[in-house]
Symmetry: C2
Subunit: 239 residues, 2 copies
Amino acid sequence: MTVEYLGTNYSGWQCQAKGVGVQEIIENALSEFFKTKIKIHGSGRTDKGVHAKGQVAHFDVDTKIKEYNIIRAVNIILPDDIKIQSLEIVDNDFHAQYSAKSKIYEYKAYISRYERPMFEIDHARIVPPINMDLVREKAKLLVGTHDFKAFCAVGSQIKDTTRTIHSLDIIEEDGAIIFRFEGNGFLYNMIRIIIGTLVFLGKGQISEDAIEKMLETGDRNYGGKTYAAKGLTLKEVKY
Amino acid sequence: MTVEYLGTNYSGWQCQAKGVGVQEIIENALSEFFKTKIKIHGSGRTDKGVHAKGQVAHFDVDTKIKEYNIIRAVNIILPDDIKIQSLEIVDNDFHAQYSAKSKIYEYKAYISRYERPMFEIDHARIVPPINMDLVREKAKLLVGTHDFKAFCAVGSQIKDTTRTIHSLDIIEEDGAIIFRFEGNGFLYNMIRIIIGTLVFLGKGQISEDAIEKMLETGDRNYGGKTYAAKGLTLKEVKY
C-alpha cells in the first residue's frame, strides 16, 4: 500500500518513547478492520515531523475483500492526517524495504525575511540573502556514490555510510525552492544535514568548500546545522 | 502592507457574529505596537476559510519607525497563521480597495478517490472521473466582461453584477490543479460557484451548457454547488 501522511503530529514512522508513530496508527486501523492483529513493514523510517506522499508498506492478510473497499473503510478509521492512497496484491517475495530500488525525497523551503503562514506546514524558511548559484553548483558534488559519513547524525549505529544519490534537482516553483533527491537510500538525518550545509554555505556562514571537506574527511563539523524536519517529504519509493 | 494568512481558523477578513476576522487581529496587533487605535482598510473581504498570500491593506499612522522594524515587531504579536510580508509608505490618495486595478485568485484542487493529508489545508478534492478537457473548454466562456448574476451567492445585496475576468488559466502542477483567475473584481462566492459549476459539468452532474445558460439567464440554479472555501487563495492585488 502507499500512504500519505502529514508528519507534524507524529514521532515519525516508528513509535518512540515519547509520541505515537504513523506505523502504529495504521496497524491499529488495519487490525480493527480485519479483526486480527496486523503488522506492517514500511519501506523505511521517516523522522519525527517528516511527511510522506508515497510511503510504501506491506502486510500479510487472508481476505477476499476488494482493495477499494479496504481503503475506504480503513481511511474512515484513520485520522485526517494519515490516509491510504492505493493498495495492491503483491507476490510473496515482495518486501517494502528490501525490494525498494530507490527513493525520492523532496525538501521544500522558501526564502523570506518573514514567516509565511501558507508555507509553514511543509516548508522550511531560509532568511535572505542566499547565493543560490553557489548552492546549485555545490549541490552537484553530492550526486554519485560517496561515503556520506559526515552527513549522518552523530550517534548513528550504521556501519556502511556509502550511498548513491542518483539525482539532486533544485526547482523554483511559485515562491518555493524544491530540492528533489533520488537515491538508493539515505542515512539518518542525511537530507536535512545536506540542506543545512547548502544553506549555510549559500549564506557564507561556513566555508565554500565545506562539502568537499565533508566528503573527504567524513567530519560532520564542517557542515551546517540539521535543517527543519517539516520541510522534508518522502515522495515516492521505486521498486 | 501585504499580508499572508491561513484562513482556516477565521471568520474571513471581517469579523462576523461567530468568529474573529483577520482584519481585527491585525488591527489589534498594530494598535498594541503603535500604542494608538489603528484602523486598517483591506482590498476587499475574503470569505470564511479563504486564504491569502497577498492581501493588501492600508492604514494611517504618524511614526518614524522603519518599515522593517514595524513588520518584525508586529509579526511577533500576530499569531502563526497571519504575518505581514511587506510594508511601504504610500501617497495620501492611495486606498487599498478603491485604487485596486485587478485581483488574482487561485483555486487549488486535487483529483483523487481518497483524501490526501498533504493537500487538505488549501486544496479542495475532486472525486474522479472528471472530463478536464470539457472543463478547460467551458472555462473559456467565463473570460471577458459578463453579468455574473448567476455566479453570485443568493441573498447578496450587490446591484451591479457585471464583472470582467481578464484571464482564467488552468495549470496542472505536481498532482494539483490550479485555477488562476485575474479579474477587476469578484462577487460574493463567485469563484467558488464557478469551480463548483465547472466540476459538476466535468463530472456530468449538470448540463454541458450550464455556463451558457447561467450567463444568459442569470439563474444560479443551473450551476453546481458552491465549492469548498479552503481551496481559494487571494494571490495578489494589482494597483
